[in-house]
């Protein structure tokens, strides 16, 4: 059964952390890159983030995500390197292209910041099962309906793919061409999308009836089948993260 989650099931200290602590780490890591926008400092945060990926045994899994973002990173370097308004000091040139120190400095910070963002999100998403995450958030007061939507979307989108291929077959057997020129593909859009949308609406209606009959609208306090995981160092870790952020702010103000 394929679901849309990127979660990698492994046994590591990072996997056993409270999803909320990991969420806090994401927020703190990104905030720090703004509080102290020094390349060396951001590199330090990035180092910690990569370390977490390694400890979480998901470093390899994060590589495709990081590679994907390379394109974004590359364009950042070029744009900032060429066009930054503060560009004065010429660093080097490649033919007609001139790179300036100021632009590259800004680009470097941006690149590091993007890597921190993607890296810390990877820590969260690759080592946390969506169920655990949503359950934690519901216990912290998020609406169970929103939680349900998040979880069911992850499972139902792959199911929708199956429906789409059935619909494609149905229209092809009525002589519709689905391959070939751009025009053919555009022409095939409505005959395919119409039934896809209506089918999902229909199924959503049926599923909401089924959910109602399972007491989904109940005002009773919800309980949970899975026992709450114990997160022993929760307070300590959360405290350390917050302390570091505060230290960062103090440093910034003092300096």
């Amino acid at each position: 059964m394929n679901t849309m989650t990127l979660y990698v099931e492994k046994d590591s200290p990072v996997h056993h952390l409270d999803p909320l602590v990991k969420l806090l780490y994401v927020v703190a890591a990104i905030a720090l890159t703004y509080i102290l926008p020094e390349p060396l400092f951001i590199a330090g945060v990035l180092f910690v983030t990569l370390l977490l990926l390694l400890v979480g045994k998901v470093f390899r899994n994060s590589l495709p995500i990081l590679t994907l973002s390379l394109f974004l990173i590359f364009s950042l370097v070029i744009v900032q390197g060429f066009f930054h308004p503060d560009n004065v000091t010429e660093l080097f040139s490649l033919g007609p292209l001139v790179f300036y120190e100021e632009g590259l400095y800004v680009a470097l910070i941006l690149v590091l910041r993007v890597l921190v963002m993607i890296g810390s999100f990877s820590v969260l998403i690759l080592t946390t099962s969506p169920d655990e995450m949503v359950e934690r958030l519901i216990k912290k007061g998020m609406s169970p309906r929103i939680g349900h939507v998040i979880l069911s979307v992850l499972q139902l989108i792959p199911q929708m793919r199956a429906t789409t291929s059935k619909i494609t077959d149905a229209q092809r057997s009525r002589g519709m061409e689905t391959e070939g020129s751009m025009l053919t593909r555009i022409k095939a859009f409505f005959p395919l999308m119409g039934p896809v949308v209506l089918n999902s609406l229909n199924e959503t209606k049926e599923r909401s009836i089924a959910l109602e009959m399972r007491g989904f609208g109940s005002s009773m306090k919800k309980t949970f089948l899975n026992e709450e995981k114990q997160y022993p160092y929760n307070k300590l870790l959360g405290g350390i993260i917050i302390a570091i952020v505060i230290l960062g702010i103090v440093w910034r103000v003092m300096a």
Partner: protein, 267 residues
Amino acid sequence: MNTFELKDVAFSYSLDIQIFDGLDLTFDSRTTAIVGQNGAGKTTLVKLMKGLLKPSKGTLLIDGDSIDKQTAAQLSRRVGLVFQNPNDQIFKTNVLEEVMFGPLNIGMSRNEAEKAAREALRKVDLESKAEDNPYDLSLSERKLIALSSILAMDTEMIIFDEPTMGQDFAGKEKIKAIIEELHTEGKLVLCILHDMDFAAEVFERTVVMNQGEIILDGPTRDVFSKKEVLEKAYLEQPYVTQIAHALGYDESFIHESELINFLNKND
């Protein structure tokens, strides 16, 4: 079309599960029902015949000529397939337009297509709904709209996938009449069914599939007399056959009237 032949056909979705391995099957002018559990390979068979899937080995032939090189769109002129769920195909907001979609795709002019569409709607008794929005109709009516959208393409062979599912008595009678009409027009009719009683009542020939293999194939009467083989495919005999059996008669009955006549004579 006189025959549709599958010769030594092999097919699999993934490397480890082979659906067909050297399947030989020929359809002719006899109306034919294919029965079997889900996963027996019925739908895969139909998709191969429509060119929606390509076999890894073997040939498909119409009247002795190979159709391996033809695309699904080209084959749609010759073989029509009525899908189980009408919601998988309906997308126009007008019944007539929906039924004309296929005919227009295979190159009929608007005039011809409209004529064919109206004729097809007449066959399913929904002429009066031609200007309605298909989504205002009931599910069983939409099934008939989907059916007529294939009838309108006037193909030489028509395949039905579970046409009786969700139909009440009146709906089943209508489908039975359409199948018989298509048969007298000289078209090849093939039908995937879960309803053994409908298979027994309507079709001349029945093919039983189980795990990608044909375990029974012959005149419907003979096929439904083989209780033990049917049970291997987890299928039951038609009710009439079961009743006759329970009364202690060994002859094979597949029509209500047969059994009644027989019992009347015996009295």
